[in-house]
């Protein structure tokens, strides 16, 4: 018996072939978890994973009942803004400017040094920091201070925010550095020559030639890194575990602590939902602010309809 299988039209086949795998992955790892999260957020699921009722009490608690949340927000804001401004954008830019001004080999060496933390496993990296700031006489920092004749310090207890900003910043700077470096490299050399002949000094060249030329990369790194800082917590968790008390518990870590340490899965899911909403609003505000739409060009390849 012969089946008459009607062949898919070519354009349909193309669409399935090109989009299919990506759509499947997106659905499995983004869409389904998101739906599950939303669903759990409106239940009373606890440590026993049982759902006895559907309720909005988690949302109510998040919007008014949780007195800790204001402090958490402030910690998150401090952490994100400080890491972003000082390291991920500021220091990344500085590194890119300096290493592109150096001779090629020296520049590549310094960039490689700054990429190292990114390449080391996060647990190892976090352990190194724990050792650096350890309050005992064996901590690296305290050994150095002792050598210089200073008393020992305990930054993890006394300046925990500084520790997590430094630890995240040292890793985060490399991303901006790489993007800015390649952007600076692609600026036509004649522009620098022209500016020099026109009378511009080094700082004026940075201001009038380099920065305007890498505007889009600056905007992109700012948005992208702000969002990733908001949701990342692994180094904080490994180094300070959010402590002392809740002093370094950023929002994402708070979600984790509520859900997995206290077993309040439903409340954790609601908090996570809140983070998604805040992240989306932030992304849209920054998208507007940096006028990223102007960056998007029409595709160069004409699509067949």
């Amino acid at each position: 018996m012969a089946f008459a299988i009607r062949p898919l039209s070519r354009s349909t086949a193309d669409r399935v072939l090109f989009l299919g795998p990506a759509v499947a992955l997106l659905a499995m790892f983004f869409l389904v978890p998101a739906i599950i999260d939303v669903a759990i957020a409106f239940t009373d699921m606890g440590r026993n994973l049982r759902v006895s009722e559907y309720t909005t009490q988690n949302v109510a608690r998040m919007l008014g009942g949780d007195s800790r949340l204001t402090g958490i927000m402030a910690v998150t804001l401090t952490y994100v803004l400080a890491t972003l401004a000082i390291f991920n954008v500021g220091y990344g830019l500085l590194l890119a400017l300096l290493t592109t001004a150096l001779p090629d080999r020296a520049g590549a060496f310094f960039r490689a040094v700054w990429i190292l933390p990114r390449m080391s496993p996060s647990v190892v990296y976090a352990l190194l920091w724990t050792w650096v700031v350890a309050p005992t006489e064996y901590g690296l920092l305290n050994q150095v201070l002792a050598g210089l004749g200073f008393p020992a310090v305990d930054p993890k207890s006394n300046a925990p925010m500084l520790v997590i900003v430094l630890a995240n910043g040292f890793i985060g700077a490399s991303f901006g550095m790489i993007i800015f470096t390649s952007a600076i490299r692609s600026i036509p050399e004649h522009l620098f020559h022209a500016a020099r002949v026109d009378g511009a000094g080094e700082l004026a060249i940075v201001r009038h030639v380099t920065l305007p030329a890498i505007r889009w990369q600056l905007s992109f790194v700012t948005i992208y890194q702000a969002l990733s800082l908001m949701v990342s917590f692994e180094y904080i968790w490994l180094i300070t575990n959010g402590g002392p008390f809740f002093d370094t518990t950023v929002y994402a870590l708070y979600v984790y602590r509520r859900a997995f340490e206290n077993g309040q899965y439903a409340y954790g899911a609601a908090l996570a939902l809140g983070l998604v909403v805040v992240g989306m609003i932030m992304a849209m505000v920054m998208w507007r602010f940096f006028d990223m739409r102007a960056l998007l060009q029409r595709p160069r390849i004409e699509a067949r309809r």
Partner: protein, 354 residues
């Protein structure tokens, strides 16, 4: 305005020598062109004058004062790059004003000077545009205005016309020339285009492989080339170069015997410009291999006892067709030493026209 002098100036990048030790003087208000093929060191020389590159050796003098250690921004030099190098995020007006930002010039004064520079190069209607909204010719004018706005001592032009179409190039050629005469600014033009160099500049410096081959007027370079390189680089269609041997007043080239005015001996290279070959009369015989009509003139490829020759004749219509046998004569001919590649003084071809 300034008198520019180079004393033994050289530039090396590691083991590669871009410019051999070079001596050169350019008078105040003079317009010179540095002419040569790509990679001959002409742009490197220009960038050393601008202060973008530091010479490896020698001295650069502006009005007698050494400027080797003077930064580009303090040399008061204006430069127009081949790519124009306009600042893409600034309007035309801001581009022109940019050099004044770093001089002690008030805002009103800067505005006035930028506008008058824009007027000078006729871009006054474009002041609010961005460089990407301009045509190549307009960008070139803006770059010129930016170079001139600070009233530089020295104006450097790096292949300024090579990105323009043919008719615009012609216009800009005479405009730049006129502007330079009007302002009297010492100007150095770098180009690989011989017509550009010879039509615009008072003097042409012909460079090859990092060395100056010859300095002279357009006429010098064309009629009295100092070396085989200059002879073959200048002139289009190019000069005929034929190997031969001389003894006394006789020159043998291929199967032909020619007479010399003056004596020389040994292996020589005979150079004859295509227009120095007179067709239809003369002691030599040849055959037309091909003809090319160029409108105002006709170009012939000849097969002769001397070897293949290029000949040029005025007139749109070809007098001889492919395959025709003809007689021809040689007018002016130059002799070169094949070893040193220099021209042999006091020994030229005796004109063999009739």
């Amino acid at each position: 305005m300034a008198r520019i002098e180079l004393k033994g100036v050289a530039k090396r990048w590691g083991d590669v020598t871009a410019v051999e030790p070079t001596d050169l003087a350019i008078e105040d208000g003079e317009f010179v062109a540095i002419l040569g093929p790509s990679g001959c060191g002409k742009s490197t020389t220009l960038f050393m004058l601008a202060g973008i590159y530091v010479p490896s050796d020698g001295q650069i003098l502006f009005d007698g004062a050494e400027v080797n250690d003077v930064e580009a921004r303090d040399r008061n030099v204006g430069i127009v790059f081949q790519s124009y190098a306009l600042y893409p995020h600034m309007s035309v007006l801001d581009n022109i004003k940019f050099p004044l930002r770093f001089k002690k010039v008030g805002a009103d004064e800067a505005e006035r000077r930028a506008r008058s520079a824009a007027q000078l190069v006729q871009v006054s209607e474009l002041l609010d545009r961005r460089p990407t909204q301009l045509s190549g010719g307009q960008q070139q004018r803006v770059a010129l205005a930016r170079a001139l706005v600070k009233e530089p001592k020295l104006l450097l032009l790096d292949e300024p016309l090579s990105n323009l179409d043919a008719s615009l190039r012609l216009t800009m050629r005479s405009e730049i020339r006129g502007l330079q005469r009007k302002l009297g600014v010492t100007t150095i033009l770098v180009t690989h285009d011989q017509v550009e160099a010879t039509t615009m500049a008072d003097r042409v410096i012909c460079m090859s492989k990092g060395r100056i081959e010859q300095v002279g007027t357009a006429e010098d370079l064309y009629h009295r080339p100092g070396s085989l390189f200059v002879a073959s680089f200048i002139g289009s269609p190019p000069i005929n170069l034929l190997e031969g041997s001389a003894s006394g007043r006789a020159l043998r080239v291929g199967q032909a015997e020619l007479a010399l005015a003056g004596e020389c001996g040994g292996a020589v290279v005979l150079g004859v410009r295509p227009e120095q070959i007179t067709l239809g009369s003369g002691p030599l015989r040849g055959r037309v291999v091909d003809t090319e009509a160029h409108g105002r003139e006709t170009f012939y490829h000849l097969d002769t006892p001397l070897g293949p020759l290029r000949a040029l004749e005025a007139g749109a219509k070809a007098r001889f067709a492919m395959g025709d046998a003809l007689t021809f004569g040689l007018g002016h001919g130059l002799l070169f030493d094949p070893d040193t590649t220099r021209r042999i003084d006091g020994c030229v071809l005796e004109s063999a026209v009739q």
